[in-house]
Symmetry: C2
């Protein structure tokens, strides 16, 4: 207690006279030290993930988790803790399976893709046509009629490969397929299917769409290459229900001098309906939330408001990000910076930043202060899906960058669970978020925006 | 064709005068070159795995695969191609599932353990007691009655950790548990359960026994550590049928001078009923089989017989290894060496050898010839489960050693599929097996045995 008071005094004196980013060096070090002192953040993240399970839009799990978080945030004595209503899509995968029937019978581990229609109750049993990409589908379109098309697209980057998950069903339907499968969008597999959102093109017949594992997709490719007939039976009982009620979660440290000026930090509280969504993105939520707590625990009072937002429905609709923008339209001119963590809370490397050149310089100066924890690299371009809707309104954007080499191993799978995260790496992410948010919220100069033309 | 004949002549002349291991240098290099020339071995291994699926004892898959192999071996013009009958256990897992009911509902990816009894048709729904090891079970035995015991033993080595899979059910039953679960025996998981054989202790009540994933076992441990009540519902319809007929597969290159003296090389053709058993152990079978083909393709005629044996039922009974020993008892004094590949066909590093010091010296000399492909390291001690039954009869034993850092990632899982293997690594394993077998079968000196006291 005594120590805390001394620290408090040091900081208050210090920050009263802070004029430049480098003057925040001692404050930064104190935030880092306090962030790394124990495993409380990891433990609370575990409790959230273990107690409620994955938090899919429309699920009781998600709303129970949100209730718990709101209660915990109030117990943390954070300011202005509240929820804001959002209507979200409500898709339920139900029972589902894929079985190889020919040349031998084998259960194919699979996950239906979010938004897919169901199969008939007895399933769809059909020959399989394997194609590597849309070009090959075009070349072989005469063979596709009445078949299940498998897109066996090798993972290159997420951006390039995800198109088969997103648009594969309609492309397959256009050439007469009765269902479509994709090779899971991920660079490494241990029989680990990946789900994710898909979309039907207007005016095109809807067919069921699911992901099988990398292993099985490669097997079916080999079978086709050696001329073996392949028959698969796909059963899915997925159903889209009317939109459900969910909520964005908000907590703040109210600014001491310019409370109307806001630095937003956050992640998305919803996840897919598999695993625990520990990395994607309960961890991002937790480090933003506990960034407030570490700032508060040091007695630091930023001039501007730091607002933690946990957006709902990032995964299959972006409902939370859009609703936040709409509910806070009047405030957006005073949104100084929005920072999202949605790349996993592995060892932080820095931030990607989208904003004015002058602002970039300032963020880079803050980066130098984060070098002791390896989080000093500021790259041009960055943000996050949930803060994206604020971009057209001129709000500068930053996204936490981490050592993400295994991110797409676990992304949207049952393997995205707490064991994949490390307590100290989580702490470092928390420190990086807290330092960036605090300095931008506290420095005398308002982070300069791109000037309107 | 012309080249082959020249090569043939060179070798025949060469080997006629070969007196020491180093005289086999040119022959070794020719075997290595021929082994590495294309991906035919990998392709045939793929065809075996893709066409028939996993080859579990008692299954039609296994017998269909054996029929295909016998036919292919005959087409390869190998000598003495035939099968030898073996009675094998016939356990069928049937439908099975585990579901976390409290604190939230979650499907727990699982695999019943081979030999387990079923649950009642409606399943077993009970509270879970998590223990880290047998010591903790002993300490907490008063809490176990009526519960499902989960052994959350962290993977250290296979030998140390597998005891919970093998003996966990009976230990849990002794303290009143109604079922038992283990954390899958593996060092890394992407929601990947591992099966394997288990055994009930005589006179102890039998309870169902299954493996859940590392992720879920760690989750249940965390729940218990924070005082949360855990309820799991386990359903298994596993059934043991009467012993079924299977076969060991044999093919040879008949010795030109001492055909009654035999060098055995092989792997086990059965697998678990998951994945493809590509690494464990179709790959071992394929490299032993194609070792004969590469020797034959070069026109090499060893003085002694090289016999490829593909044992059945290694995984859950060792029926093939025991039956081979029993059917060939009279020949065992003339078994010069037995070599098994059952550690995966990743990049070969050498062999482990069990035999006389003089024989070890010779094997080490052969090792030096394998250094160009990195397979030169000969370690003391080694063999394989299927050749183990011949050990008490004095048969020297060698086991192929490979870069096995990921072997237990895939072992007994749905992830043990062809994509985990590399064509050139498979070729190098084939080369190492062929070189060792050929030199030991051809050198003037019979590999010396340990002298009987």
């Amino acid at each position: 207690m005594k120590l805390t008071r001394i620290v408090y005094t040091v900081f208050v004196c210090h920050t009263l006279f802070a004029q430049t980013v480098s003057d925040y060096s001692a404050t930064t070090n104190a935030i880092i030290k306090a962030s790394l002192k124990d495993s409380a953040t990891y433990d609370r993240l575990s409790e959230l993930c273990d107690t409620f399970g994955p938090r899919f839009s429309g699920s009781k799990n998600l709303e129970d988790a949100i209730d718990w978080i709101l209660n915990e945030m109030k117990n943390d004595n954070l300011d202005n803790v509240h929820a804001e209503g959002v209507l979200v899509p409500h898709w339920v995968r139900g029972e589902e399976s894929a079985e190889l029937m020919v040349p031998h019978r084998k259960n194919l581990n699979m996950l239906g893709l979010g938004g897919s229609i169901s199969t008939p109750r007895t399933g769809i049993c059909a020959e399989v046509l394997v194609v590597k990409d849309f070009n090959e589908l075009e070349e072989r379109k005469a063979e596709a009629k009445g078949k299940i098309v498998l897109f066996n697209a090798e993972f290159t980057s997420y951006g390039k490969t995800v198109q088969y998950r997103y648009s594969g069903a309609s492309e397959a339907a256009k050439v007469g397929a009765v269902a479509s499968l994709i090779r899971s969008v991920g660079p490494y597999s241990m029989d680990t299917p990946h789900t994710g959102v898909m979309k039907y093109e207007d005016g095109v017949r809807k067919i069921p769409h699911a992901a099988i594992t990398v292993e099985d997709a490669m097997m079916l490719q080999r079978m086709q290459d050696r001329g073996q007939k392949i028959v698969v039976k796909l059963k899915m009982s997925a159903k889209m229900f009317p939109d459900a009620k969910s909520r964005n979660v908000i907590a703040e440290i109210r600014g001491s001098e310019k409370p109307e000026e806001i630095v937003v930090i956050g992640g998305h509280i919803d996840s897919w309906d598999v695993g625990q969504g520990a990395m994607d993105d309960a961890g991002g939520c937790m480090v933003a939330w506990d960034a407030l707590n570490v700032i508060q625990s040091l007695g630091l009072k930023p001039k501007r408001t730091i607002r933690c937002v946990l957006w709902t429905n990032e995964e299959n609709g972006l409902g939370g990000g859009k609703a936040y923008r709409d509910a806070h339209l009047d405030e957006l001119p005073n949104h100084i910076l929005a920072v999202e963590s949605d790349g996993g809370v592995f060892a932080p490397e820095g931030f990607g930043f989208t904003g004015s050149p002058k602002a970039l310089e300032i963020i880079r100066e803050i980066g130098t202060l984060l070098e002791p924890i390896g989080a000093g690299t500021i790259k041009v371009g960055g943000g996050g899906a949930d803060i994206g809707p604020m971009k057209p309104f001129g709000v500068p954007q930053a996204g936490l960058h981490v050592e993400g080499s295994k991110y797409f191993w676990f992304h949207h799978t049952n393997a995205d669970m707490m064991d994949k995260l490390d307590p100290q790496e989580v702490n470092k992410c928390k420190a990086a978020m807290a330092v960036l948010a605090f300095i931008v919220a506290d420095m005398p100069e308002r982070l300069p925006r791109v000037k309107k033309e």
